[in-house]
Every structure is written in C-alpha cells, then in structure tokens.
C-alpha cells in the first residue's frame, strides 16, 4: 500500500522535479521564470506531434526541446534583451503556448481539446532486475518510465553544476549582485539567456514525461499548473537543489494521495483540491518559519 503510493508519488513528481530543476537555474540568476508552465505545455505538444509523425521517441524528445527553446528565445528577447517585465513576459509565453497548441490542434487535425492516436508512441516502463532484490525501496523506484531515472540523474547533475562549476558560480553571482558580476567581466545577459534555455530543455523533458510517459496523448492545458507548482517547490526549497527536489517530491506525494482517494467513494473534485491546499499550507509554513528566523536576528526585512 505505502509502496504503491510512493511509487505513484515518484511518477507524479517527475514533471514537477524536472521543471523545478530547470527553474532553479533561472531562480539562481534572479530571473523570475513563470514561463515554465508554457514551455512545458509546448514541449508536451511538440513531443506528441513528433511522435505521431515519426513514431520515434527520440525525435519526439528533440522536437519537444526545440519547440520549448523557441519559446525560451521569445522570453529572452522580450524579457532580457528588451528588458521587459519577467512576469508579464512569462504570462505572455503561457497564454501564447495555450492558444497556439489549441489552434494547431484544430487547424491541422480538426480536434478540439484532446489529441490521441494509436500512432503516438510513448515511453515504455523500464524494469531493472537487481532492484527486485532490495526490499521496500526496490518496488518504489522500479518499473518507471525512463524519464523518472533521467530526472534523478539530472538532479545530481544540477547540484554539481550549480555548486561546483565555474558556470554555476557565474549564475549565482549574476543572481546575487548583477552590478558586481558585470564589474568582474561576467557577461550577465549571456548567463541569463543560458539559464532560460536550460530551464526550457528541462521543461521540454517534463512535458514529454506528461504527454508520452504518464499518458500517450495531448490534452489542452494538460500541465494544469505544474509550472507554478514547480516554482512553489523552488521557493519552499529556498533555492537549494536538494530542497527543491524534496518539495517537488512532496507535492507529487500529495498528488498521489489525491489519486488514491479518488478510488474510494469520495467526490473527485473535492479530493483534487488536496494538492493545491497542501502547497499553499506548505508555502505559508515555510514563509512563517523564515520570517521568525529573520526576526530572531533582529532584522525585520530580508
């Protein structure tokens, strides 16, 4: 029972983890990236289209990354080069992505809302034999879509890049003090650009995981706020890799509880509120703890 819930948690958490790890780069570079949602959606859509057209999952992933990067380019041009407001630019990416996916769906395929077809090839779950021998942990992390394992590897990579490479230091320097970073010769805009592209790549993977891993179809607005949940995970994790991962997993856990309760005789819409309420509660607790910590040191503001 518990194993099954945790197994589902890992599955539900993966898109959040991927998007949050991508958002972590932009967060560190002090770029508030609410376009995660839109980039994930366009990734999911492009992945499904490419998979439908070619039947090849790798081409699907590349297509998803390409589409997501194009939207990241838009974000960069308007948000960074032209110095637009990040929140407004991100909002534009999200609305544009939602509009474009449903427009293309209707014009090219005459479908509304949902696009599913037997020709769409999804990822197949991976079974790792030696995990069978490990009790409890084994059943939880076995038999997932490959993207789940990729996400774990990426989390380790992100930790390493952000904390132990020159690039990671540059990113943090840009985020903490832009003027100082500029003064020592870091190309601030180039760093910011690159972080948005990285977040786009990871969001594309998250989107592919949604549309080709958990399901093999595209549903309008299928990201369903996961980009913002990823942001919440980053805020709760206070911008650390481990914290972000833990909170992403926690939010996935709330989602899996919700899925399990739906099997019982409780109205679906009532149960579906659980993850969202949970996130608000966690955000407020983390915020309150931080506030108390700040007051202890006699500093009222950050």
């Amino acid at each position: 029972m518990l194993e099954a819930i945790l197994h589902t948690s890992l599955r539900m958490a993966t898109p959040i983890v991927l998007a949050a790890l991508g958002g972590l780069f932009t967060h560190k570079a002090n770029v508030l990236n609410i376009a995660l949602e839109g980039m994930m959606l366009i990734g999911a859509f492009a992945g499904v289209l490419a998979s439908f057209a070619t039947g090849n999952i790798f081409i699907a992933i590349i297509a998803a990354i390409f589409a997501s990067m194009l939207f990241a380019l838009l974000f960069n041009v308007f948000g960074i080069t032209l110095k637009g407001n990040f929140i407004i630019t991100g909002l534009a990416v999200n609305i544009f992505a939602a509009g474009l996916t449903s427009f293309v769906l209707q014009v090219a395929f005459g479908r509304r809302g949902v696009f599913s077809d037997p020709k769409i090839v999804g990822t197949t779950p991976v079974h790792i034999d030696f995990l069978d021998k490990i009790p409890f942990i084994g059943p939880i992390i076995n038999d997932h879509s490959p993207m789940v394992y990729v996400s774990i590897l990426i989390a380790i990579a992100v930790y390493f890049v952000l904390n132990h490479t020159k690039y990671g230091i540059y990113v943090r320097a840009v985020g903490e003090n832009e003027e100082a970073a500029k003064a020592i010769g870091i190309k601030v805009n180039r760093i910011k650009y690159s972080t948005v592209y990285i977040s786009a790549i990871l969001c594309a993977l998250a989107g592919v995981n949604l549309s080709l891993g958990n399901l093999t179809m595209f549903v309008e607005n299928m990201t369903n706020g996961r980009g913002f949940i990823a942001l919440a995970a980053i805020f709760c994790g206070r911008g650390t890799t481990l914290g972000t991962y833990v909170f992403s997993f926690l939010f996935g856990f709330a989602d899996s509880i919700q899925l399990r309760l739906q099997n019982l005789n409780i109205p679906g819409t009532f149960v579906q509120m659980i993850p969202f309420i949970f996130i608000v509660v966690v955000l407020s607790i983390v915020g309150a703890i931080r506030m108390i910590g700040n007051l202890d040191r006699g500093i009222k503001d950050e």
């Binding site: 609410i34 838009l74 308007f78 948000g79 032209l82 110095k83 637009g84 407001n85 929140i87 407004i88 630019t89 909002l91 534009a92 990416v93 999200n94 609305i95 544009f96 992505a97 939602a98 509009g99 474009l100 449903s102 427009f103 209707q106 014009v107 369903n224 706020g225 913002f228 949940i229 942001l231 919440a232 805020f235 109205p267 819409t269 009532f270 579906q272 509120m273 969202f276 309420i277 996130i279 608000v280 955000l283 407020s284 983390v286 915020g287 309150a288 931080r290 506030m291 950050e302």
Partner: protein, 356 residues
Amino acid sequence: MAKINYKQISKKVFYLILPVIFAFLVGAILIVVSGHNPIEAYGAMFRGALVGKSALYNTLFSSTPIIVTGLAIAVAFKANLFNMGVEGQMYLGAFAAAYVGFTLKGLPPVLHVILCILAAVVVGGLFALIPGVLKGRFNVNEMVVTIMLNYVAILLTDYLTNFVFYSGEGYAATYPIEQSAYLPRFMKTSQLNWAFIIALIMACIVYYIFKYTRLGFEIKAIGHNVSFAEATGMNTRNKAIVIMVVSGMLAGIAGAGEVLGVHHRFIAGFSPGYGWDGMTIALLGKNNPIGILIAALFFGILKNGGSTMELMVGVPRSLISIIQGLIIFFLAVDYLNTEFGFMSRLKLMFRRKVRG
C-alpha cells in the same frame, strides 16, 4: 502639471496601439498558414462584432465581465502585486451571489440584487485575504499562492455545485436564483444586462479611488517604489493586504454579474478565463480605468467577433488567445521608459558608433 502634454499622450497611445498591430500581423500570418484569407477572417470578425444593433449589444455584453476583472487586476498590478487569483475569487464570488440568490425568498428585487452582490464582494474579498495575509505577514510570493488558490476555488465550487446544491437538470448547475435577484436585460435578442452598468460604475469608483483617495495614492507609491513608500512611514505590509482584498472584492462583483445577469444560476466552470483576460486588459489599459474600459471593449469585439469568424471563415477562435499572448509580449517592454527605451537604445548605439 496643469498643461496636458498632447505630444506625450499621442506617443503613449502610439506605443499601445503598436503591439496590437504587431499581434494582428502575426495572427494574419497564422491565418495564411492555416489556409485562409486574413482580410476575410478579420473582416468577418469585425463585422460580426460591430454591424447591427444586437451585434453591438453583444460586444458590450462580452466586455462586461472583463471590464471588472481588468479593474480588479489593475488595482493590484498598480501596486506591483500580482494577483493572478482573480479567476478563483470571481468563482467564489459568483457562487456566493448564486447562494444568496436561491436561498433568500420573497425579497423586493433591488434589495435582493444588492444583497447578492454584497455576498459576492465579501466572499471574493475574504478569499483574497489569504494571499494578502501571506504576502503581508510572511512575504510569501502572492503569484504562486493565488494560482494555487484558483484551482482550489474552481474545484470547490464544482464540488458544491455537483454534490450539495445540484439542481438535477443534467448539467453541473445549482438551483436557479429567484426572479427578484435577476439583473434585467436591455433587449430580447441580446444578453446585455445591467451588469454592464455596474461594470461602468465600478470603473468610475476605481477612477475615483486612484485619483482622489489616500488608498489610491498609497497604491501608486507602493507601485513606484516599495522601499521609498516604507521609508516615508507607510505600513506597506498592511497595505498589501488591503489592496489584495479590494482586488478580490472587485473580482467577486465580476462573478456576481455573470450569475445575476446571464446564467441566473451558478454553473460549474462557467468562466472561459475572464481572470486571465483581465490581466491582458489591465496591461493594455496601463492600469488606468479609462484605458481598461477601452481595452475591454476591444477584447469584447475580439471575443464576440471571434465566434463569427470561426463560423463564417473557419478560423478557430483560439486565434484570439494567440493574439492576446502576442499583445502581452509586445506590452511587456516599456518602450516609453527613456532609460531602457527601444528608440533611445537605438540612438545610443548610433551615437556610440559615431564617437568611434
């Protein structure tokens, strides 16, 4: 101050119309790609929205809820608070209005309508109090909280509609409200109703708040520079709460208008994203009530004409949201701000080259 700088204003208007033109051009490319004629499609859209009395009325009708959500968002945006929860606050406000509408019986019409709207105002404001307090007290990012609460509000009203107050009429709706709570319509062939007048009144009230009240001044001060506002002795934390609540109250009114004027019951998932439209409108109207009215009328044309376009020419209505997204892109950039202005950047580049 007293002199109106017409050159400055015309420049401002030019930079607001420019994004719209750009967005329409990109939209035209998409229409061509999808195999239609853009002139025909846009022609059908504007004809469908503007030709004939009932078409005009329907355009005003389409712009009614988005005027109010636009105002709700502008109140918060102007203070740099990103209340993205207008959608959810509107849902709960609408439900409260419907609840008062079908539970209280035998009231005189005007009183009943006022009570329903008051209920919506209170509930919308209370729901906005949550992100307000979290922002003001714990400095929690209001954007994420409001978006999460949107889902809560939509799901909660969906649950209440389907399981507690279900009318049993085959679709997810509550019992109908009493006739005394109806907002009357102006003509039979259009759904335009008194909610539009209420929306106009709200625009006047917000205009008054911005221009003549202390709250309006504080909103402006916080929006310009929080630290400075705090340094002058303003309690910006409490003000953030107040501003969020005012924004939520307006959102509640938007919901009440839909219930009392259009559906006459609460329908689960009734909003096609009025809260999000409000954001575009607040941005396009530069958080100015008059600008918001114009922007909302413009979007009323797009929305009302969009269905005609889909029907007559076959271009999907989702083109409207693409145009909306594109407009926001171009609006995100502050072309007017001389320091970062697009034109002055070009000039600067040119000057650098001349100097060598």
